[in-house]
Symmetry: C2
Subunit: 161 residues, 2 copies
């Protein structure tokens, strides 16, 4: 696993021990292309025969995030999810279906460029960003779901126009 190697390098640079647990956690995180919750991570580790305490998982994820190799997400589920930044999809733009909870990704370099510009225009030096678009996925639209504005009509045009 070449990405695990990057984490090992990071640990050494920081003078921190490279432990079995840290390697196992990094391997599972880098092997998955999903947005993993701590719960899911624990299950995957157990399936691999590793029995690692939750505290260690949290502590290692914190390091992975600090190292810049992994990113933390919050999709409003009440817990965090983690995703490594290497390999297939260097994307952090998410489409979140308010009906079924499915998360899809967008990849739009122009969007990224425009965001950076907008930030710089305000004297801000951007390092990373996160875009979440809520709405209905194609399937739920087909299934006849309605956007949930239970209240006053308040579509995107009104709010953001």
């Amino acid at each position: 696993m070449s990405f695990v190697h990057l984490f090992r390098r990071y640990l050494r640079e920081q003078g921190l021990p490279v432990t079995q647990q840290r390697e196992a956690i990094a391997e599972v995180v880098f092997a998955s292309s999903e947005h993993l919750s701590v719960e899911e991570l624990e299950t995957l580790l157990r399936e691999r025969g590793e029995r690692i305490g939750k505290a260690t998982i949290y502590r290692t994820l914190e390091m992975l995030v600090k190292s810049g190799l992994v990113e933390e997400h919050d999709f409003g589920e009440g817990f965090k999810r983690y995703e490594h930044l290497f390999g297939q999809k260097p994307v952090r733009e998410h489409l979140i279906c308010t009906e079924c909870g499915k998360v899809a990704e967008i990849h739009s370099p122009e969007l990224v460029r425009m965001q950076e510009e907008a930030a710089r225009r305000q004297g801000f030096q951007p390092s990373r960003y996160r875009l979440q678009i809520y709405g209905l996925c194609a399937d739920c639209q087909a299934a006849g779901a309605e956007l949930r504005w239970e209240g006053l009509s308040c579509p995107i045009e009104t709010i953001q126009g």
Copy 2:
């Protein structure tokens, strides 16, 4: 407070009682142009002489969000913040300083348009969105702060291609 009126209307439409507590909470939320936490909201209410339980605050905020008049934010602080959607700034694009925690806003209609397009291109019907850009604000740059990539060099260019 004209916005409180909208909330009253929403409650009546839903056949729900308009209580003193609900009005007081709505007044404070609509009177502020900040991103309020429940803690802050409670303090503001107490300063106004209102003594309202946290449970009621949470329950009322849930309704305000459902009504479409208020939006919930999560800046990764471990708790939520709430912001009403009317009045001054119809914006939900945030610049978050990783050094001092300050939150600034962007307003960029082209960005909004481009995001909607990107979503629609994938068959997604967007309703609302949220953009968070992390980095250094102008002040912290001036104060000599460095972007906190404590680990491997991993700037925005590398990650986002």
